[in-house]
């Protein structure tokens, strides 16, 4: 067995494995750093909409009717609220989902390379009835839409 494979297999646990993979040449170091570190902590820690949007570089997004938020009007279980966001805005490059009344508003953000449709669906936790915002980056500019989702049983586990 060659030395680099043995090192990778010995590494076992994941963070160490990742490092071993970098050392073995599986990932370029800058890719590894990018892959491991590319998480917008400031945005995910934002406690107000203004703070969160600023951390995402999205100051004053324009309201758009070309963004559709699909989700229940009333969510029975705030732990699992299905939300789909899609847009007809041309050159859409990113979509984010924010829950206004959650302790931290940003739930998820998605980068969409060319060839990927401007649609994402997921399920989010909502602590209480709240506006759910979709933020779309299209052609370098930011746009937003909102839908209120009522929650009968809050989903943050508190």
């Amino acid at each position: 067995m060659d030395a680099s494979r043995r090192k990778v297999l010995k590494a076992g646990g994941s963070a160490a494995l990742f490092g071993a993979l970098v050392a073995a040449g599986f990932f370029k170091p800058e890719e590894a750093r990018a892959a491991a570190a590319d998480w917008n902590k400031a945005a995910f820690s934002g406690k107000t909409m203004a703070e969160t949007l600023k951390a995402m570089g999205a100051n004053n997004p324009a309201q758009s009717n070309a963004i559709t938020i699909t989700g229940p009007d009333i969510a029975e279980n705030g732990a699992v609220v299905p939300v789909t966001v899609q847009t007809t805005l041309p050159k859409a490059e990113a979509i984010a989902i924010l829950v206004e009344k959650n302790p931290n508003m940003l739930a998820a953000s998605f980068d969409l390379p060319a060839g990927t449709e401007p649609l994402v669906g997921t399920r989010v936790k909502m602590g209480q009835t709240s506006n759910v915002y979709a933020l779309v980056k299209a052609d370098g500019k930011y746009y937003t839409a909102v839908k209120e989702i009522k929650v009968t049983l809050g989903g943050c586990g508190g």
Binding site: S14, A15, L17, F18, A35, A36, D38, W39, N40, F44, A79, V80, V81, P82, T84, V99, N102, P103, N104, L106, A107, A108, S109, F110, D111, L112, P113, G115, T116, E117, L119, V120, G121, T122, R123, V124, K125, M126, G155, C156, G157, G158
Partner: protein, 103 residues
């Protein structure tokens, strides 16, 4: 090692592949208290990457507000018979990659 993801990748008539993924992950917010009143530490997927033919077709950053055992649906241009890979990375550095053939 973490439980596998369930990936359904379906080619539609117009060259679009619809992907639905069910991840297996606690997505612990860090705000929940256990039976003894102690805070359960945050443990959640932070990054998700989908790859097709060596290029990235989706790159996502998640916070702990994504539901436990996350669901993800996205769509991209691709062909039946090819493979799509999904990778997740969580805040503890755990990671997992699974792949599925586009059917």
């Amino acid at each position: 090692m973490a439980d596998p993801m369930k990936i359904r990748a379906k080619a539609e008539a117009n060259g679009v592949v619809d992907v639905k993924v069910l991840f297996s992950h606690e997505m612990e917010t860090g705000q929940r208290k256990d039976a003894s009143g102690k805070l359960v530490p945050a443990h959640f997927i932070q990054n998700v990457t989908a790859s097709y033919q060596g290029r990235t077709v989706l790159n996502a950053q998640w916070g702990p507000a994504v539901s436990k055992n996350p669901f993800l649906n996205f769509r991209f241009k691709g062909n039946k018979g090819d493979k799509v890979q999904i990778t997740w990375l969580d805040n503890k550095g755990d990671t997992r990659t699974d792949e599925a053939v586009i059917g």
